[in-house]
Symmetry: C2
Subunit: 312 residues, 2 copies
C-alpha cells in the first residue's frame, strides 16, 4: 500500500493508517519540493512532519516540529540578524545536522530518511519521492518568483499567487522502487494534502503521474478541502488563484485522471453528485482528524476502497 | 598593535589587553587551521573562543563555548548516532549557522568574523589569518594522518604524534591588510598559544613569517609552557614528540627568528639565562591568567615591550 503524502494532513492520516493496517505493508512517498537549504543545512519539512507525527513526537499544537521543543539556537541567531523566520527548534536541528552530514558523505536522501525513520522506531517505510533536488517556486504579484518556504513561512502564504512550478522536476528520477511499488500496490492513497504544492510535485516527478494513472481503479484520494476551505494552509486560496474551484468538486477535477474515488467530508455531502459528475466515485465520511481516533476511523474508510483483487 | 592568537590562552591575554590598551588599536589575527566542517556547518573554534571571551560570554569552566549553554541539539543527535564527540551547544550553534549561511552567500571569513564580533559589541578587530581553507593535519602512530579536531577532541590529544602539517597553507593568502598591519604595528604580540598547532599555522600562511621576522625587534611572545608543561592542551607533549624541548627555552628556540623578547613565568625564572642564550631577551613575570586581573597585569608587561619609536 502506497500513500502519496505532503505534510501535516498526510501525517495525521498515516498515523491512523498504521493503527488500522500493518505498518510493514505501508509505504509513505513524501513531497520534497518544499525542502530548503537554510544555514547550509538540508531541511525536509514534510518528511520530518511525517516522521515526527508517526513517532508520536510531533508538537500537537502546530502539527509540525517536536513537542516540548526549545529555541535557544534561534534566539541566539537573532543576535546576528540571521534568518529566524524559519524557526528551527534545538532538537529539530539535530535532524537537519544529521541529514546534512549524511548527504555530505554521499548517502542519498532515501537512505538518510530510512535511517531517521528507523531511529524513531517507525515500522512503515518513509521515502522521499525523489533523491534529486526539486523545488516548488511560487510567482507572487509583488515579489515575482520566490521559493516555497519564502512564500509559505516568511510571507505566511498571505500573498496573491499567479503561478506555481516545480523546478528540477523534469530532470528528477523517482526514488528507486517507487514505480514498481505503485504498480504492485493493492491500494494507492492520495493523502489530504495540498493538491497544488504537496501532491502536485509528487505527481510531477517523471513517471509517477503515469504510474498512478495506470492504477486509477486502485487509487483513493481524500479531499483536503472541507466546506470550501483548506483545513490548514493555502490550498483553497491557491486553487482559486490558479483557476480551480476551491471545493471537493475542484479536488475531484484535479485528480480525475489518477483517482477513481474521492473521500469528501460530511460537510460537503451535498457535493457528492457533482463529484460523481466529475467522473470520480464519491465517498462521504468524517475527514477532519482532530485526534488519533478520528484519523483511524478515516483510515478505515480509505482502506475500504481497496479493490477486492490484487493487481495482476 | 597586532596579536597573533590561537584559542583559550590568546583569548585570556586579549581580555587583559583590551583593559590595558585602547581596543580600537588592537588587531587579533586568529588561527583558522583548526576550523572544521561538521554537519555541513563551518565551525571556527579559535575565532569563537576569542570572540566569546572578549564578549564576556565564554563558559568560565572550560574557557571555550558559551556560559549557561544548553545541549538539546547534541542530545537529540545521539538518537541518530550522529557525531556528538564535538559538542556544539544550542546557542553556540547559532554562530555556526550564521557563519555558514554568510559564507554560502559568498561573504569571506574575514567579513563574517567582523559581523560576528560587532554583534557581540567588540571594539577590537578580530580577523582570521586567511580567508582560505587551511587545515592542521596530525600524523598519529595508530591511525595515520587525521584532522586536528579528530586528534584534539575525539582522541583528547592522548595519542603519540609524529608529524604535524598545515594542509592548504602553501596556497593560502594572508587576510587582506595583515601584511601591512604587521609592517606598521608598534608592537606585535605572539599570544601564549600552542606554538605548533595554533601559532604555527598563523606563521605558515605565506608572507606572515617573513613579515613578523622583519619586525622582530617589535615582537614579544609569551611562553605557553610553564614549569615544563602546557597550562592547557597538548603543547608540551607535541613539542617533545616533534623534537623540541618542552620548556620556555624550547619556546625561545622556536620563536628566536621572529621574536626579540619572550615573557616567561616566574616559575621558570631559573631558565632566563638559557632563554637569553637562545638569542631572545627574557622577561620574567606572572603569566598564569586565572582571572581578568592577572590577564591585565600580564598585558601591561607585554605592552611594556613596545619599542620607544614607531616603525619608519
Amino acid at each position: 500500500m502506497v500513500v502519496l503524502a505532503g505534510g501535516v494532513g498526510a501525517a495525521k492520516l498515516l498515523a491512523g493508517l498504521v493503527r488500522a493496517h500493518p505498518p510493514e505493508d505501508l509505504l509513505a512517498v513524501v513531497n520534497t519540493a518544499d525542502d530548503v537549504l537554510l544555514h547550509g543545512l538540508h531541511v525536509s519539512p514534510d518528511l520530518d512532519t511525517v516522521v515526527y507525527t508517526l513517532a508520536g513526537a510531533v508538537n500537537p499544537d502546530t502539527g509540525w516540529g517536536l513537542a516540548a521543543e526549545t529555541w535557544q539556537a534561534m534566539d541566539a541567531l537573532d543576535r546576528y540578524g540571521g534568518i529566524t523566520w524559519f524557526r528551527l527548534g534545538d532538537r529539530d536541528l539535530a535532524t537537519h545536522l544529521y541529514r546534512t552530514h549524511r548527504l555530505g558523505q554521499g548517502a542519498d536522501l532515501a537512505a538518510v530518511t530510512a535511517e531517521i525513520a528507523a531511529a524513531w522506531g517507525l515500522k512503515l517505510a518513509v521515502l522521499p519521492v525523489t533523491n534529486n533536488r526539486i523545488e516548488t517556486r511560487v510567482t507572487t504579484a509583488d515579489e515575482g518568483e520566490i521559493g516555497f518556504q519564502d512564500y509559505f513561512v516568511r510571507r505566511r502564504h498571505d500573498v496573491a499567487v499567479s503561478a506555481v512550478r516545480v523546478a528540477g522536476a523534469a530532470r528528477a528520477r523517482p526514488v528507486p522502487g517507487l514505480i514498481e511499488a505503485l504498480g504492485a500496490a493493492r491500494l494507492i492513497v492520495i493523502a489530504p494534502s495540498n493538491p497544488i504544492v504537496s501532491i502536485g510535485p509528487v505527481l510531477e516527478v517523471p513517471g509517477v503521474y503515469r504510474a498512478v494513472a495506470d492504477r486509477r481503479d486502485a487509487v483513493v484520494a481524500v479531499s483536503p478541502i472541507v466546506g470550501g476551505a483548506a483545513l490548514k494552509g493555502p490550498a483553497d486560496r491557491l486553487m482559486r488563484e490558479l483557476g480551480h474551484e476551491s471545493s471537493a468538486v475542484g479536488v475531484a477535477r484535479l485528480y480525475r485522471e489518477v483517482a477513481a474515488t474521492l473521500v469528501i467530508d460530511e460537510t460537503d455531502a451535498g457535493l457528492a453528485d457533482e463529484v460523481e459528475k466529475a467522473g470520480v466515485s464519491c465517498l462521504v465520511a468524517p475527514t477532519v482528524m482532530d485526534g488519533v481516533e478520528s484519523a483511524t476511523a478515516l483510515a478505515r474508510v480509505v482502506l475500504g476502497c481497496a479493490p477486492a483483487t490484487a493487481p495482476a
